[in-house]
């Protein structure tokens, strides 16, 4: 066991061979890559769109897009980042399309998210339980939720988020602050 473990640590296996096989059109290799990354992509889609059923669709679309553009995929760990960027782009495009459709149907209601705007003194939140935090994030207004997920959960900078979302940096900062305030209120209840 020991000798094997040492040798393996010296020669780490990267999924590059899977990526190469996938690029040559090997569907089995692509399925293995899907199994490896499905949880990561689904988590991203679910947090960005706030809807588990829609997140399933977006996850499938993201992998289908990744297959379509497989020749530009990146080797090693960069593959995950490449795949996640596809998912983020799809989720943001989907959100923009949905907002446009909703605006045609009903007047804009930005700010009236499920959490809503709460006022009044409440107790200070303790360290949020992950499940409570997930629920509170899902309840944020859409714009604030997307900025919060990309900044505080995924670690993107405001400049990157602004470019991805087609917003000014000041707007993403304002959305982030709004998200944090609403989360503080929701988690204090």
């Amino acid at each position: 066991m020991q000798s094997v473990a040492i040798q393996l640590q010296e020669r780490p296996i990267q999924p590059d061979d899977l990526i190469q096989r996938m690029q040559r059109g090997d569907v089995d290799a692509f399925e293995a890559l899907y199994r490896e990354h499905a949880g990561r992509v689904y988590a991203l889609c679910r947090r960005l769109c706030g809807d588990p059923a829609r997140a399933e669709e977006l996850t499938q679309d993201a992998f289908a897009r990744a297959w379509q553009h497989r020749h530009s995929s990146r080797p090693g760990a960069a593959y995950t980042g490449w795949l996640c960027r596809i998912a983020i782009n799809l989720a943001l495009t989907d959100a923009r399309s949905r907002i446009r459709r909703e605006r045609k149907e009903v007047p804009a209601r930005e700010g009236a998210g499920p959490i809503g705007e709460m006022a009044g003194p409440v107790a200070a939140p303790r360290v949020a339980h992950p499940l409570d935090l997930e629920k509170a994030i899902a309840g944020l207004p859409e714009g604030a939720r997307r900025v919060f997920v990309l900044h505080d959960v995924e670690g993107y900078r405001h400049e990157e988020i602004a470019e991805m979302m087609g917003l000014a940096v000041g707007t993403t900062k304002a959305q982030l602050h709004r998200a944090r305030r609403l989360l503080r209120e929701a988690l204090s209840k």
């Binding site: 094997v4 393996l8 999924p15 988590a43 289908a64 980042g81 782009n89 360290v127």
Partner: protein
């Protein structure tokens, strides 16, 4: 939650993120020393920021999505040329892992056989326990609306893994003479554990095919078997 009228909360948010230049930061810190409310707000913001960064990187989908992906790519034919608007990251022009600056830890296949062995033992143990411990499936036994998970679909989802593991097993069989007896022994022992775990989880899934933990284990077992075989097949000759 108290509201401090003397300090803009957006400024506090920027302070928490370390985005303020020295003069503005000093001003906020002076205010914090004298304000009864704002230190609490800053603490809350930090707690949320920290908790958000520690959320799990992965959430297992509630059902297997591969069949939908497979149907999408079946009709897609040849690969499309690169679409820079869709896949090029912001900024540098190089694809970087998401969130690489601070929090992101991409799952990697850099796992030693020792770790793989520990994992498969855990997987096997969990599968065994879950067969009898119905509490783990509480709340998961009812499929979510729209879910169409069946044992058959899960088995179909594992077809690709089975093909891949069969290929790898053939490769390892051909290399049997290259590997040391100790390596082969460890490998065989771990494959036995994995296969026993798979038998256990199949029994559990037949009882409760909609259980999310069971489905996650089903996928995990195949994944770890593939990982173990890939690592073993790439070992340099030892004899």
């Amino acid at each position: 939650m108290k509201i401090c009228k003397a300090m803009d909360e957006t400024r506090l948010s920027e302070y928490v993120d370390g985005e303020l230049a020295a003069p503005a930061r000093n001003e906020v810190e002076r205010h914090l020393r004298g304000c009864a409310d704002c230190p609490g707000i800053v603490d809350e913001m930090r707690a949320i920021r920290s908790a958000a960064a520690e959320l799990p990187r992965e959430i297992e989908p509630p059902r297997d999505l591969w069949s939908g992906i497979e149907s999408r790519i079946e009709g897609s034919g040849a690969a499309a040329p690169a679409d820079p608007d869709e896949i090029t990251p912001v900024g540098s022009g190089e694809v970087t892992p998401v969130g690489s600056g601070r929090f992101h830890v991409a799952r990697s296949w850099n796992v030693g056989l020792a770790a793989a062995a520990a994992l498969v033992v855990l997987v096997a143990g969990a599968a065994f326990l879950m067969r009898d411990d119905r509490r783990l499936a509480d709340g998961e036994a009812t499929p979510p609306p729209g879910a169409s998970v069946t044992l058959a679909s899960l088995k179909a989802a594992g077809a690709g893994y089975r093909r891949m593991t069969a290929e790898l097993e053939t490769l390892i069989e051909a290399r049997r003479g290259d590997l040391s007896p100790a390596t082969l022994s460890v490998l065989e022992e771990n494959l036995k554990i994995i296969d026993e775990a798979f038998d256990e989880i199949q029994v559990a899934l037949e009882t409760d095919p909609h259980s999310a933990p069971h489905r996650a284990l089903f996928t995990s077992i195949y994944r770890h078997k593939t990982m173990l075989l890939q690592q073993a097949s790439s070992l340099p000759p030892q004899s």
